[in-house]
Amino acid sequence: MWRSPDPKAEYDVVIVGAGGHGLATAYYLAKTHGITNMAVIEKGWLGGGNTGRNTTIIRSNYLQDPSMAIYELSRSLYETLSQELNYNLMFSPRGVLMLCQTEHEFRAFKRTAHANRLAGLDCRMVDAAEVKRIVPIINDSADARYPILGAYYQPRGGTGRHDALAWGYARAIDDMGVDVIQQCEVTGMLRKGGAIAGVETSRGTIRAKKVAVVTSGHTTNLMDMAGVRMPMESVCLQALVSEPIKPVIDCVVMANTVHGYMSQSDKGELVIGGGTDAYNNYSQRGSFPAIEHTITALVETFPIISRLRMLRQWGGIVDVTGDRSPIIGLTDVKGLYVNCGWGTGGWKAIPGSGTVFADTIANNRPHPIAEPFGLSRFREGRFIDESVAAAVAH
């Protein structure tokens, strides 16, 4: 579907990281801004990091205005992206239910609901009876440790096929003449005075006028090479799938109080995710207690799954910022751009993130939607605090 070219000596733009965000950035740079003398370089294989490791949930019902803007842009782009790329992303707007299992959570989501409606997002609160109607397998017992009080519902949210997004973008940019270079690890950053001049890689030196780092959990290490410090830590986030069963749940359910979320793939596997491990980790192997915690929560929420066997379990290394919001924009090094810090919630943002980041790189100034997500917010105390709003689950 795409070539495997050798790297050229020089490009206008080099994007480091061929995950969803990097490929999307290249796609919009080529399509919208006409930049095709460009390479996307990747240490492993394209889409092999967190793009292929998430639970594929797409939603935009965040609390803060800047978050709503970027996630809703992204969600709306997902609606037509299969047609645009001529590649089936299996976007399935099956609805996302975020359970309210404490009075606190109920009130917090009500607040988010009001904020989202003011922004024109199609979301609403539903009562416990409607939750049961939408998800018949849910435990609606009043004796549950955390009884269902209702839910916050985004009917236009849903899921997509994660690998397909990476492959669709990769094929599209390859068609436009962009080089996707896999098995090519960045080992150093070339500087020329205060500006970036290219990258040193395992396949030689590649000079570039602009370099964009989009490497998720490994961003701090790459930015270190350029002498830029990042306010992030890398932790492991795990997910797992069960053996395939007949359809039992046709929406996404997120239970934030008990730390678990679940949907069912087209193959019939229940796709399960939870919270991150509690310490820095680059190993892509998560800890058992985190899995146990998630499963405990979901067995209580969905008693029907108690005897299911789990088929696969894996971990991805995510980059978590202090306010649980991403960092998109310019850096102090001229020509060096960064898009990272998506933490546990990057998949849903890929098309929107690529759109605004491409515009930022092409015009050398932050896109209006990207502007609030600049690095300077940590100095200015201008946080986009989604950690209080979304708890663990993104």
Binding site: H218, N221, P231, M232, E233, N281, Y282, F288, G322, R379
Partner: protein
């Protein structure tokens, strides 16, 4: 599953018996003259973190044992614990030598300013060192 050893009470347990408190050796920029602190310093204190792939230094708490905080050196790639040391101490000298990147810079700066060679048992964080200097005339005399 991590197996962790508490250097304070001596128990060994798994990671659910302990709590990771994040990066070690972060000093609050100012307690006495907050107006002299720049926005950058405050940002560094609150949000900037060393995030090495490899040897890392962290605070841990013996949650279900003695309840004390302590320091640990851990490899974030292999997840192996390399050393446990007291909450007021710097890491063993050989680990400070092995540290790379920002940690290497940090330990170099930390040990360069001191006339006394940092022995793991005697060395202290700057916070404790100040306290000791202020309280006991012996330490104060040595320093001046």
């Amino acid at each position: 599953m991590l197996t962790i050893h508490c250097p304070v009470c001596g128990v060994e347990g798994d990671e659910t018996d302990f709590h990771c408190g994040g990066q070690a050796h972060i000093a609050r920029p100012a307690t006495t003259d907050p107006h002299t602190i720049t926005d950058e310093q405050q940002r560094d204190y609150l949000f900037m973190r060393f995030n090495p792939r490899g040897l890392h230094f962290e605070r841990w708490r013996c949650d279900r044992g003695c309840g004390k905080w302590f320091h640990a050196a851990r490899d974030t790639n292999s997840l192996d614990f390399k050393a446990y040391y007291g909450i007021t101490e710097l890491p063993p000298a050989e680990l400070m030598k092995q540290a790379t990147g920002q940690w290497a810079e940090f330990f170099n700066a930390k040990t360069a300013g001191k006339t006394i060679k940092p022995a793991p048992k005697k060395a202290a964080t700057s916070k404790t060192a100040k306290k000791v200097a202020g309280k006991t005339s012996k330490a104060g005399a040595k320093k001046s």
